[in-house]
Symmetry: C2
Subunit: 231 residues, 2 copies
DNA sequence: GTGAACTGAATTGTATACAATAAGCGATCC
DNA sequence: GGATCGCTTATTGTATACAATTCAGTTCAC
């Protein structure tokens, strides 16, 4: 279910990092939340040593920020960072979708369809966090079909950061959530129509950013709130 | 000189990671070299704790590989990984060069020119490692001019990995090293000619891969050698 | 009442100690 | 002679201890 980063040891610190990451993906841990090492250590039944390793991993993925002597917090991407993340995705994902389409197998189609179904049921079961996570996994799955581990790793990170961005700047939770962009993408992949997949992905990402509220104000108010000592 | 990853604490573990990374960039530490924690700790005058943190950082950047209970080694990118790295660069850097060209300032031009000059002198001074490092920094500098931190971080990682790839698969050390691709790129940037910069970057990256020997054999022989117990 | 300085608790940074695992090597058996 | 088993050593994984720093609440001066 979470099998990226095979390059590293799969020690307990990766378990900690993975479970924290999942909580962040599913919006159970919200941006700005402080992650005290002792608490996390006790929750997972390990020592601070392994917690620190896990937090460092998450910091490298920009899911948490580390400040010297001031601890770890779930990251709060700025508006600028939000734009950058989606610009990077716009650079990587459409072409990757094209590559994926050209090598999609029936097994891939089945797997993606299962993903979409699961996402729908999660949404109707009133678990939007899980639906969001599955929605992100759909993008990652496409990158994996393209069979490009390096780019897939980048996209994985960008999808994770997008989850934080959505937590902060999601404007209209109404429509779009139920959008059938993923269905259309899946059909293009099943048809092995690379050009169409590329276009659909490009449009899908544009829809995503346009559903965010990236005006300058929210970030200011947020940092103000932090400046007032409340976190 | 080395100011990436401002998101993390700039503790001593980053110093360790930075110095190890520099040694890898400059080919003073070659792929496959084992990095024993105690040795590194003594060399840098810190404890294993901070060395481990630094190694983890480098592992995340794919500069070293960590195997559970078996320690850290300078990474040996496979041929497949080498191809992927340059495909990712081909996806990111040309467009980034275009963006950079559209916002290049005279100060940027001066800085890049200084880079090129330094690279030439290093090359003629018989320090190819330093020249290679500077050559990589040139690419990173362009990404920074484009003012996209996220993509710049990706490119930084890809450039670093490219250094390892070059150490393993560099075929003709003769020409190309002295190529004037960077000069041409700089001129396009100075002219704020985005389209030309994009094309030049695309061609430059193609030249780079074509100067590598990415046939299937070397990797096999290398893994064979490792299979025989020598590392 | 406001603000600066101080004190104690809480938290992080680093080093070290111990346990667990892997690697090296010699003796033994076939 | 070659391979295998077992022991010793080296190295890593994890926990804990202590030092350094930050944070919150209080006191004190104005």
């Amino acid at each position: 279910m979470m099998d990226d980063a095979r390059h590293a040891m799969d020690g307990s610190s990766d378990t900690v990092a993975g479970r924290l990451a999942l909580a962040i993906h599913e919006h159970r841990l919200l941006p700005g939340t402080k992650l005290v090492e002792d608490e996390v250590a006790e929750i997972f039944g390990v020592s601070r040593t392994v917690v620190r390793a896990g937090l460092q991993r998450l910091a490298h993925d920009r899911l948490v920020t580390l400040q010297r002597n001031r601890g770890a917090h779930v990251a709060q991407p700025t508006i600028r960072e939000a734009r950058e993340v989606f610009e990077a995705r716009a650079l990587l994902e459409p072409r990757t979708a094209r590559s994926a389409a050209e090598r999609t197998t029936p097994a891939d189609v089945a797997r993606l369809q299962a993903h979409i179904d699961e996402e729908h049921t999660a949404l109707h079961a009133g678990d939007p966090g899980r639906a969001l996570r599955l929605s992100g996994l759909f993008h990652i799955e496409i990158a994996r079909i393209a069979d490009q581990d390096t780019i897939c790793a980048f996209i994985t990170q960008l999808v994770a950061r997008s989850s934080l961005i959505i937590a902060l700047y999601w404007a209209r939770r109404n429509a779009l959530c139920e959008s059938h962009a993923h269905d259309a993408l899946l059909r293009a992949l099943a048809d092995r129509d690379g050009a169409r997949a590329e276009d659909l992905m490009k449009g899908h990402l544009l829809d995503l950013v346009s559903s965010l509220d990236l005006r300058a104000l929210p970030s200011t108010s947020r940092s103000l709130r932090e400046a007032l000592g409340r976190e």
